[in-house]
């Protein structure tokens, strides 16, 4: 299972979630995606995106402005 890392820092809505969607779309079921973003809107967005698309949000950690999420493709 492949792991992809995405640096989404400096981007603002809607680009972070577009980049996550594009990367996950290319991957295979079970692939893991780790993304770092410093847009404050990313946290609620990633929750809503995972809920709607059915991919699993394994973790969400915050360090300063940075929000790191780990998603597994369904």
């Amino acid at each position: 299972m492949a792991k992809t890392t995405l640096d989404l820092k400096g981007m603002s809505c809607p680009m972070p979630i577009m980049k996550v969607a594009a990367a996950v779309k290319k991957g295979a079921s079970g692939d893991v995606f780790e993304a770092v973003c410093d847009d404050a809107g990313f946290e609620p967005d990633v929750h809503a995106w995972c809920k709607e698309t059915g991919h699993t949000l394994n973790s969400l950690t915050k360090a300063g402005k940075d929000i790191t999420v780990v998603i597994t493709k369904k």
Binding site: G10, M11, S12, C13, P14, M15, I17, M18, V20, A21, A22, A48, W49, E52, T53
Partner: protein
């Protein structure tokens, strides 16, 4: 009810459920406004919905057509009134006015600057990204005819249609917005 009747009823309900679930996959918008800020909202929502796996149709009518215009569009081959409308309306995402604080064209420049500072993607980029993700854009043929806008005046890769094209898409969607 007989066993057959129950089977038939079950089949019917399954078909109806499939249709309802299918509708959840679609979103339709009318982009009526040619204002920069409203077009931004439309294309941010469109991109978000595409990212969430929806099929998105944007029916573009009236002033909204300004968003789709090629910057190179000219009045050539148009009658006097059409030439006037062509001259007076902005052509393409970079030239649109804002709905508030336009200040005779200074407002949009201010907003472009402020948005650039905050790394907000440009409207042109949002349109391109939506196209890349498979948005379906339908330009209103009737308003094009009224204003003398030809198919080659608008961006490539779009469709042309009327109210039924919008309604057909809207009836198959569970979200429809008018912007």
């Amino acid at each position: 009810m007989s066993a057959d009747a129950v089977q038939d009823k079950l089949k019917e309900l399954e078909e109806r459920l499939a249709k309802v679930e299918g509708n959840r996959a679609n979103m339709t918008m009318v982009l009526f406004s040619g204002d920069f800020d409203k077009a931004m909202a439309a294309f941010i929502i469109a991109n978000g919905a595409l990212a969430m796996g929806k099929e998105v149709t944007i029916f573009v009518t009236f002033w909204g057509l300004d968003v789709l215009k090629k910057p190179t569009m000219t009045g050539a081959g148009k009658n006097v009134l059409e030439k006037m409308v062509t001259m007076m309306r902005p052509k393409g995402p970079a030239k649109l006015p804002t709905s508030k604080m336009n200040f005779a064209g200074i407002g949009p420049k201010l907003f472009h600057y402020m948005m650039g500072k905050k790394n907000v993607t440009s409207l042109q980029n949002l349109v391109d990204t939506a196209v890349e993700f498979g948005v379906r854009i339908v330009a209103c043929q009737m308003s094009m005819d009224v204003m003398g806008i030809k198919r080659e005046d608008l961006m490539d890769g779009i469709e042309f249609g009327g109210v039924a094209a919008f309604l057909g898409s809207s009836f198959d969607s569970n979200t429809t917005l008018f912007i």
